[in-house]
C-alpha cells in the first residue's frame, strides 16, 4: 500500500535519511523503532509531504506521492498524527474535529458522533478550548481528528509519549481496533516492547538507515534489539 524506495531526506547539510526502503501492506500494522535522531519522525514527515526528499520514490496505492503537498496527500487517504499531538489549542474540541474533516466535509455530524463514541470524554469537553485538555485527552483528540479524514492509512508518531500507563494501554488498544476496522497503520514508537507486540512487522532505524526488519515477533527475540531497545 505504501512503499518508500531509496529515500534520502536532509535538513540543510545534515542528512537525516540515507536511503531507506520501507513497505507497508494493506491491513498491516508496521512499526518503526529506533533511538532519538534515528530519522523516524523525518521518515513520517517525508511521507506526509511536509519534508521533500532529496531523491527516492514514495508510492501510495500505486500513485507517486513524493513532491506532492501535504494537503493533497491527506486527500489521497494518508493521514498523520504527528509527535506531540499538535492539536489546535485555541480551537474547541469540536472545531479541531471539524478541521480534521477539512478535505471531506460530507457526513460531518455522523463522523463526529463516531469519534465521540470512540472517545466519550471528548464529547463531554466538546466546547472547551482543546489546549485545556489533559495529555491523554489531547492524544485522543489528535487521533480522532485524523480519523475525521476517513484515512485508508494512518501514520502515528509516538502516540504514547508522556502519557500515564493506563492511557498508553488505551491508546494501543485503540490502534489495534482501528486496524481491525481496516485502517493500515505505520507506527513510530519509543515504547518498543508494546509496539513490537502490536505490530505485524517492524523496521529498526539507526542513523538514517534501515538496520533490521522482520516480524514483530522476530525482532522481540532479536539479540541486538533486546539490548538496544528493550533494555535487557
Amino acid at each position: 500500500m505504501l512503499r518508500l524506495s531509496e529515500i534520502h531526506t536532509s535538513y540543510g547539510h545534515i542528512k537525516a535519511l540515507k536511503g531507506i526502503d520501507i513497505e507497508v501492506m494493506k491491513g498491516e500494522i508496521v512499526c518503526l523503532i529506533g533511538s532519538n535522531g534515528a530519522g523516524k519522525s523525518t521518515a513520517l514527515m517525508t511521507i506526509s509531504g511536509v519534508l521533500k526528499p532529496d531523491c527516492g520514490k514514495i508510492e501510495f496505492n500505486g500513485q507517486q506521492i513524493e513532491g506532492m503537498d501535504p494537503h493533497e496527500i491527506v486527500g489521497l487517504g494518508l493521514s498523520q498524527v504527528p509527535e506531540g499531538r499538535r492539536i489546535f489549542p485555541r480551537l474547541s474540541v469540536l472545531e479541531n474535529l471539524e478541521m480534521g474533516a477539512f478535505m471531506n466535509n460530507s457526513g460531518l455530524k455522523e463522523k463526529i458522533k463516531h469519534i465521540f463514541s470512540l472517545f466519550p470524554v471528548l464529547h463531554e469537553r466538546s466546547n472547551q478550548p482543546s489546549g485545556t485538555l489533559s495529555g491523554g485527552e489531547q492524544q485522543m483528540l489528535a487521533i480522532g481528528r485524523s480519523l475525521m479524514a476517513n484515512p485508508k492509512m494512518l501514520l502515528l508518531d509516538e502516540p504514547s509519549l508522556g502519557l500515564a500507563p493506563i492511557m498508553v494501554s488505551k491508546i494501543f488498544k485503540t490502534i489495534k481496533e482501528l486496524n481491525i476496522e481496516g485502517c493500515t497503520i505505520l507506527l513510530v514508537e519509543q515504547n518498543a516492547r508494546a509496539a513490537l507486540r502490536l505490530a505485524h512487522r517492524a523496521y529498526v532505524l539507526e542513523s538514517g538507515i534501515v538496520k533490521l526488519h522482520g516480524t514483530g515477533e522476530e525482532l522481540l527475540h532479536n539479540e541486538g534489539v533486546r539490548k538496544a531497545y528493550l533494555g535487557e
Partner: protein, 300 residues
C-alpha cells in the same frame, strides 16, 4: 466638547482598527509584519477617486450618489484585494522558507515601489476627493456627527463584525485560525495552507482598501505618501491590542483614535501624530503582549 472629541476619535479609531486587522491577521499566520499594508490603504484612496470620477462622468454620481459611492467602495475593495493577493504571491511566497528578515525587506521594497508607482502615474501633488456628502449633521447632547462620520463608524463596525463572524463560524475562518496556531499541522489535516494565506491577504487588503476610500472622503485630500503614517498608526493599534489578536486590533484601533483625538483637544494638537508613537513605546515597555495579548495556556 468631550462628546465631540469622542465622536471624532471613534471615527478615526475605527479606520485604524480596520487597517490594523490586516497587519494582525497576516502576523497571526506568518509572524511577519507586512510593511506594504499601509500602501494598500493608499491605493484604496486613489482607486476611490478614480472610480468616483468614472461614476461622476457617467452621471451616476449626480443621479444617485449613495449608490455611486457604494459601488466605488466595492470596486476599490476588489482591485486592492487583487493587489494584496498578487503582492503575497510574488513578493512573500517565494521567501516563505527564507530567514525572517528577507520577507520584511521584501515588504519594504514593495512599499517603496507602490509609493513611487502611484507618484509617477498619479503625480506627486495632492488629489482632491470630491466632497459630496454635504454638511448634513446630526446633533445630540451638544455634539454633532456628520453623515460621513456615521457612515464610517457604521461601516467599520459592520466590517469588523463580519470578519469576526467569518473567523469564528465559517470553515475557511476556522482553517485560518488553525493555520495561525500550527501551520504544519494545518497542512497535515488537509488544509491548503497557501490558499488560506492568500485568503488572509485578500481580506486584509480589502479592509485596508475600504478604510482608504472612507478616509479619502473624510479628509478630502489624498497623497501618494499617506500610506506610511496610516500604516504605522494601524501597526501601533495592532501592537496595542496584542499583535496577532483580532479583537485586540479592533480595540487597539479605537483606543488609539480616542487617545489621539483627546490628546489633540486637551493637550496639544501639534503633537497629534506623536501620541501613537508614545503609546507604542509605553506598550512595548510595559506590556509587550498588548492589551488582549494573553493566550490560553498550552500543555505540551
Amino acid at each position: 466638547m468631550l462628546l465631540q472629541q469622542l465622536i471624532n476619535g471613534l471615527t478615526v479609531g475605527c479606520v485604524y482598527a480596520v487597517i490594523a486587522l490586516g497587519y494582525t491577521m497576516v502576523y497571526g499566520i506568518l509572524e511577519f509584519i507586512n510593511f506594504a499594508h499601509g500602501e494598500i490603504y493608499m491605493l484604496g484612496a486613489y482607486f476611490g477617486i478614480i472610480f468616483l470620477a468614472l461614476f461622476t462622468s457617467s452621471g451616476l454620481a449626480a443621479s444617485n450618489f449613495p449608490l455611486a459611492f457604494a459601488l466605488t467602495v466595492l470596486l476599490t475593495i476588489l482591485f486592492c484585494s487583487a493587489y494584496g493577493f498578487t503582492i503575497e504571491k510574488i513578493a512573500y511566497r517565494p521567501l516563505r522558507k527564507a530567514p525572517r528578515l528577507s520577507p520584511l525587506i521584501s515588504a519594504i521594497g514593495i512599499s517603496i515601489f507602490l509609493q513611487n508607482y502611484v507618484m509617477i502615474t498619479q503625480g506627486a501633488t495632492d488629489k482632491v476627493f470630491p466632497q459630496k456628502f454635504g454638511d448634513a449633521s446630526f446633533n445630540f447632547l451638544g455634539a454633532s456627527a456628520t453623515s460621513l462620520q456615521l457612515i464610517i463608524i457604521f461601516a467599520s463596525g459592520l466590517m469588523m463584525l463580519g470578519l469576526h463572524l467569518f473567523i469564528r463560524k465559517t470553515r475557511t475562518g476556522k482553517a485560518m485560525r488553525a493555520t495561525a496556531q500550527d501551520m504544519t499541522m494545518a497542512s497535515l489535516v488537509g488544509i491548503n495552507v497557501d490558499r488560506i494565506i492568500s485568503v488572509t491577504f485578500i481580506i486584509g487588503a480589502g479592509l485596508a482598501a475600504a478604510a482608504g476610500v472612507m478616509v479619502a472622503a473624510y479628509y478630502g485630500l489624498v497623497n501618494y505618501s499617506i500610506g506610511y503614517v496610516a500604516g504605522i498608526k494601524a501597526f501601533t493599534a495592532a501592537v496595542l491590542g496584542g499583535i496577532g489578536n483580532i479583537p485586540g486590533a479592533m480595540l487597539g484601533g479605537v483606543v488609539l483614535g480616542l487617545i489621539e483625538s483627546l490628546g489633540s483637544a486637551y493637550v496639544s494638537a501639534e503633537y497629534k501624530d506623536v501620541y501613537a508613537f508614545i503609546i507604542l513605546l509605553i506598550i512595548l515597555l510595559i506590556k509587550p503582549s498588548g492589551l488582549l495579548g494573553t493566550s490560553v495556556e498550552e500543555k505540551v
